[in-house]
Amino acid sequence: MAKTYDYLFKLLLIGDSGVGKTSILFRFSEDAFNISFISTIGIDFKIRTIDLDGKKVKLQIWDTAGQERFRTITTAYYRGSMGIMLVYDVTNEKSFENIKNWIRNIEENASADVEKMILGNKCDLDAKRQVSKERGEQLAIEYQIKFVETSAKDSLNVEYAFYTLARDIKAKMEKKQEASNPPGARSGAHQLRANEQQRKPTSWLSRCSVL
């Protein structure tokens, strides 16, 4: 039986413009880094399937435009996501301060139990650093969110971050499932996917084809 994955997790990357969301995603999905990325317009996503405790977990990671003007579009994607990466740039104080705004944004738009994680990106640029690791950690403690400093350029902690987030989601999901279902039931994510395959009844147009 070909089942391409056991779980499908939708993740979302948010944070100020230019903090390196696309780079992080690119590092994770293609294991590459390109200094001259273009700004993300609209929305894009990449997929990587990882192996978590013997389960195939398909991560569908959405990359969003950072500028707050585009939040109307990006928030549409908050709802379906099960995990959110909040990214700031350690060489940019403002992007760090804005993390609070982003969290507020999540609280308003995402489902209440969405898993979150804060990433302080560009930690390879130590000379230009404006936000210390301690401040990042403190913020994380304040919000009870996991935190890690990453570098998409040096491939530092990117894998770790996604694996951690995915593992947390998986744990949460399994816990929830055990609570509601007898064990052995398929994951909700998968069922969702399976349902998509079924076609809806057709409209008059197709019925017309009897002609």
Partner: protein, 1132 residues
């Protein structure tokens, strides 16, 4: 050992071994054909390796190699490595892979890192848990296969078999040995892809592959589109794709009957499970004399069980002939949905077993001939399993003594099909006899109940004569959506059903005839009424559509005759009279719309298309318009450059502050706890958060700053050295003016440089170097701390104020006074906002025409909410004055433009500055990221782009910069090369485009229009989208509309697309973007449909396809679509 071995049991074993290899090779080759590549972790590879291992292991002289424990064949490899160079290579790889897994990637295997990934790979903790066992097994065979050496190694073994093998071993066998090595030649020629770890194997196929598969299955790349008539029905749509597919496939089959399905679905995939596959099953298609061998497979899909047969030509032919006409074979291929089959006839004879499927329409499919052996039976038993749980074979196959299924004894009848009630008597068929005919009926229980209900209703309605209760014969209906509503029953089929509780004999023939008649008439009525209602709905729908879409296109269709070449230079010149006047604008638009513009004259024509030049203007008028535009542009630029200087200054301070704070914190954290340091800097924090957002200034400044001014970080904090800071910004401004194309005169530059050199004291140079050198960083901490304290002290504003004062001294008394007053009145925490200015430049500005309120001066107070007007900016204005002399000095300069009056408006509200700062940072971030792969965008041209952006944003500060504007301006700059004109065109472009940004409403309208257009022009696609309608918005179009396809196409194509959009406005449609979008979608509609993509799939697909579209095809399709809609509306 030919003749003697026929009875030899070892031969049988060899046979089996070779057959296993053969089978795996075949699978692998098939996988390669259908997927275009074989993944290294594919199960097929492992299976093949296993089979080869078994062959090699058989008859091996283990004693000779006994000292190796683990894997004898691996030992064999190492053994022969001495004599066989291929084996040596592989052996080295294997050693490397086994011996030092952690460092393997460095050991040279990485060219084709074959089997197991190093356990300590960077994939993180999760993936290193389980290294699949399959990967480490048959390691050397794997590596040899991927290195394409396996066949040669085997050959070597075969040639030297007597050294390593017993005499009766398979490898030593003259026949089998060479068969084995030649079998492996094929797999060794395949392309094995590592791709991205095992993840890729589990991921969705990338867009490329989807398109590739589509091309492959479509045979020839049919130009998408216009082949479909407008407002076609589903049936006709299907028919069009069925041309290439199969004449045998049932139309209207929801599972998709097109040929491309084969390519994907022959393989096990997420949508269909492969239940059975058998090669060399012969089918004799129509118009073919000989039965052809092919691949028979059975697939379980969501829609039901599907039987497929594909001629061998299709299975094998891919590699050699992509272009060759395979449509013939596609036409021969079979695809039958199990629910459409009512009867399965089985004819067994001595020669072969044949299976005939009879559809509910009574049509027989070509017989499928199985080779002798249990194949037919195993197919049937798989088939029966596949039908469960909703359906079953009637009669069922019988299990017999645990030996598998056999044809039911006593349950089958030999009987020709169409005769109604010939039989009742059953005939015992001896299975051993292996000959005979069997008929199975396929019963679909799922819809049986539903049908039964409908029947009873129907019967009541038509007063059908009482009939004996019978089993619901659901087999007669179909799951295909169209016809399922026609509850047509075949009462006659009951006759075949001789099983209890009812035998056909019980049903009188007369009654049968009556009920057939009855059903037929009901059917007729239903069809007619359905047709009528369909037609009615269609008419109503059409009128809705017309009203809705009439706004999208122009009612008048402009003819396209003679426009093939587009607007060439020749035509353009001939349209121009002596004075350079072009008047026939309609013709220009028409030519551009249908044929585009020759690249050489785009620069001349674009300003017309965007409405910047008027048609009918003389060359003289245009050049004076250009001059005016340039003046205007420079004036505006001079305004925001002042503000930029202020912003820079603030940034530097803020950056310095946070760096100092950080250094302080890290310094402290060694001795004191973190919390403490947090408190210490709390005040500071608040100060800084008042600042405009600090984007790491370094990358931005790289663009403009000279090297000597680069390490601002260490310099800025030294409040004592305000003068130096001011130097910085002055230099920067000089640079910027250079950027503007006004090179500084040597005098002023030298002057500046000398000044700056004088001002830079040793102390500062020292700090600079320390900070830049990480090794010396520790030492510098103390120094920076000292500086940081200076910053912290800024909190009370004292020192700062002083420095500002000292700077302002040189100004005239009034201003100075007011600025001091201002400062003193202000609460301390706002102090930092006044530290902005480049005082020394005031000194430089010799005459320094005192800032008299310019245009901005009038505006900005109004903008200031608190009425707090910062006086200091007058010096900013003054700093700009320093440029004045030099500019004026140059003879060719065009600028009385940056006149003092306009430039040093001098008064900017804090709010204005902050708002501009915010925009400035965004712009710089995006400009740096804009099209860096395109050679045009050197640093110099990026600066131009930045200036255009800043100027536009300065003019539209209420709207501000929005991501995407850079993309829109870039092609204009590339084309026009000159900032001022590019800016003017950009402003025109934005008049339309700004509504697409989130502040406008156009995007939603576009989405809605897209929806209706798709509904009208491609209802099949619409239904797919509708079925996956989890989003009401077409987000995959978002970027298309926002950037006018700039990111979807290559530059050259963007030019054409944009011209088309601009010209279409006057020729055919003001919403050309919609039709281009639709054309893009239609281009890939078959791929989208074939893969039943949902919205996320489509987003991914198009994002991956960016810049790889065939633009000219897309654009001409877009024009055709406009025409379609126009015709549709015209034909009311």
């Amino acid at each position: 050992m030919p003749a003697a071995t026929t009875t030899d049991p070892s031969t049988e074993q060899k046979d089996r071994l070779i057959a296993a290899v053969k089978k795996e090779v075949k699978h692998l080759m098939e996988e390669a054909v259908t997927r275009k590549f074989v993944h290294e972790d594919s199960g097929g590879v492992t299976a093949l390796c296993g089979a080869v291992e078994a062959c090699l292991g058989q008859g091996l002289r283990r004693r000779a190699l006994g000292l190796f424990k683990t894997s004898s064949t691996t030992a064999l490899l190492h053994k022969i490595a001495k004599h066989c160079p291929e084996a040596a290579l592989v052996s080295a790889r294997v050693m490397a892979a086994e011996g030092a897994p952690a460092t393997r990637s460095a050991s040279g295997v990485e060219r084709r890192p074959s089997a197991p990934r190093p356990p300590l790979n960077k994939r993180g903790s999760g993936s290193l848990l389980s290294q699949p066992a399959s990967q480490s097994r048959y390691l050397w065979i794997r590596i040899a296969l991927f290195e394409r050496q396996l066949a040669k190694i085997i050959e070597h073994l075969v040639n030297n078999a007597n050294r390593y093998y017993e005499r009766d071993a398979l490898v030593a066998d003259p026949d089998y040995g060479s068969i084995l090595s030649s079998l492996l030649v094929g797999p060794c020629a395949l392309e094995y892809s590592k791709a991205k770890a095992p993840a890729c194997f589990w991921s969705d196929p990338p867009a490329d592959e989807l398109v590739q598969r589509h091309r492959m299955s479509a045979g020839t790349t049919t130009p998408p589109s216009v082949r479909r008539p407008i407002l076609n029905f589903r049936r006709s749509l299907n028919a069009s794709s069925d041309d290439t597919a199969s004449s045998n496939t049932a139309t209207g089959n929801a599972t998709g009957s097109s040929a491309k399905d084969y390519v994907e679905s022959l393989h096990q995939n997420s949508r269909a499970t492969l239940l059975y596959g058998k090669n060399n099953v012969r089918v004799q298609p129509k118009d073919v004399e000989e039965p052809m061998p092919g691949y028979l497979s059975l697939h379980q899909t969501a829609a039901g069980l599907i039987i497929k047969w594909t001629p061998n030509q299709l299975m094998n032919g891919y590699a050699e002939s992509e272009g060759l006409d395979k449509s013939v074979y596609w036409a021969m291929s079979l695809q039958v949905c199990a629910w459409e089959v009512v009867y399965v006839h089985v004819h067994r004879s001595q020669a072969s077993d044949a299976l005939i499927l009879v559809g509910q329409d009574g049509v027989q499919r070509p017989p499928i001939q199985f080779p002798k052996g249990g194949h037919l039976l195993s197919f049937l038993s798989n088939f029966e399993t596949g039908l469960l749980p909703h359906g079953q074979l009637d009669p069922p196959l019988w299990s017999q003594r645990g030996s598998g299924k056999v044809f039911g004894r006593g349950k089958t009848r030999r009987r020709p099909m169409p005769s109604l009630c010939e039989s009742g008597e059953t005939e015992e068929v001896d299975w051993e006899e292996a000959a005979g005919d069997y008929v199975f009926r396929i019963v679909n229980n799922a819809i049986a109940d539903r049908e039964a209900m409908r029947h009873s209703l129907l019967e009541r309605a038509v007063q059908s004569p009482p009939r004996t209760p019978r089993r619901p014969l659901a087999s007669t209906s179909t799951t295909s959506s169209d016809s399922s509503t026609m509850s047509v029953d075949y009462p006659q089929s009951i006759c075949f059903n001789s099983q209890p509780p009812l035998t056909p004999a019980q049903l009188p023939p007369v009654e049968q005839a009556a009920s057939i008649e009855l059903v037929c008439s009901t059917m007729r009525r239903q069809i007619i009424s359905r047709a009528f209602y369909g037609w009615l709905a269609y008419c109503r729908h059409l009128s809705t559509v017309r009203t809705h879409l009439s706004g999208l296109v122009h009612p008048h269709i402009v003819p396209r005759d003679g426009t093939e070449a587009g607007l060439t230079e020749e035509i353009w010149r001939s349209m121009m009279d002596d004075e350079g006047v072009v008047t026939d604008k309609d013709e220009v638009y028409r030519l551009v719309y249908y044929g585009g513009i020759q690249h050489d004259i785009r620069r001349e024509v674009w300003p017309y298309l965007l409405g910047y030049y008027e048609f009918g203007s003389t060359a003289e008028q245009r050049s004076s318009q250009d001059a005016a535009c340039r003046r205007q542009y420079e004036t505006t630029m001079s305004e925001w450059l002042c503000v930029e200087a202020i912003v820079r200054q603030r940034d530097r301070e803020a950056t310095a502050a946070s760096i100092a704070r950080l250094t302080e914190a890290t310094g402290k954290s060694k001795s004191t706890d973190v919390v403490d340091s947090g408190e210490v800097f709390e005040d500071d924090c608040s100060v800084i958060s008042d600042n405009p957002p600090i984007v790491s200034p370094e990358p931005c400044e790289k663009e403009q700053l000279k090297p000597e001014s680069k390490p601002v970080l260490s310099r800025a904090p030294s409040i004592d050295e305000v003068e130096n800071i001011e130097m910085d910004s002055k230099e920067k401004e000089n640079d910027e003016s250079t950027v503007n194309g006004e090179t500084e005169t040597g005098d002023s530059k030298d002057h500046v440089d000398i000044d700056s050199l004088n001002d830079v004291d040793d102390d500062e140079v020292y700090i600079k170097s320390v900070v830049e050198n990480p090794d010396m960083r520790r030492e510098s901490i103390a120094e920076i701390k000292r500086l940081a304290e200076g910053i912290v002290q800024k909190g009370d504003g004292r020192r700062l104020l002083c420095s500002v004062d000292s700077g302002n001294m040189t100004l005239n008394g009034n201003d100075l006074k007011s600025s001091i007053d201002e400062n003193e009145q202000n609460p301390p925490q706002q102090q930092h906002t006044s530290v902005i200015i480049t005082n020394p430049s005031v000194d430089l500005a010799v005459s320094g025409s005192p800032a008299s309120g310019g245009t901005t001066a009038n505006v900005s107070p109004a903008r200031s909410p608190l009425g707090v007007v910062r006086e200091e900016s007058q010096s900013a204005g003054a700093s700009f004055d320093t440029l004045e002399p030099s500019i004026d000095a140059r003879p060719e300069n065009r600028s009385n433009c940056a006149s003092p009056a306009s430039s040093n408006g001098g008064v900017y509200s804090n709010e204005l500055v902050e708002s501009f700062a915010l925009n400035l940072h965004r712009i710089e971030k995006d400009v740096l990221r804009c099209d860096r792969n395109y050679p045009f965008f050197t640093d110099e041209n990026l600066d131009k782009l930045r200036n255009i952006m800043c100027t536009y944003v300065w003019e539209h500060l209420d709207m501000g910069y929005m991501q995407g504007m850079c993309d829109l301006a870039a092609p204009l700059l590339v084309m026009m090369r000159e900032e001022a004109v590019a800016h003017a065109l950009f402003a025109r472009l934005m008049e339309r485009a700004k509504d697409n940004f989130p502040s406008g409403q156009a995007m939603d309208a576009h989405f809605a229009d897209m929806r209706s257009l798709i509904q009208i022009l491609d209802c099949e696609l619409y239904e797919l989208m509708h079925a996956h309608g989890d989003y009401t918005h077409f987000y995959f179009c978002y970027r298309w509309f926002l950037l006018d396809f700039k990111r979807e196409l290559l530059y050259q194509d963007v030019f054409s697309a944009w011209e088309l959009i601009w010209a279409a406005r006057y020729v055919a449609s003001e919403h050309m973007v919609l039709f281009i979008a639709l054309a893009l979608l239609e281009t890939y509609r078959d791929v989208i449909l074939a893969n039943t993509m949902d919205f996320t799939d489509i987003i991914k697909f198009f994002n991956e396809m960016a810049e790889r579209h065939d633009a000219s095809a897309v654009l001409s399709l877009a024009r055709d679509l406009v025409l379609q809609v126009q015709t549709l509306i015209e034909n009311k």
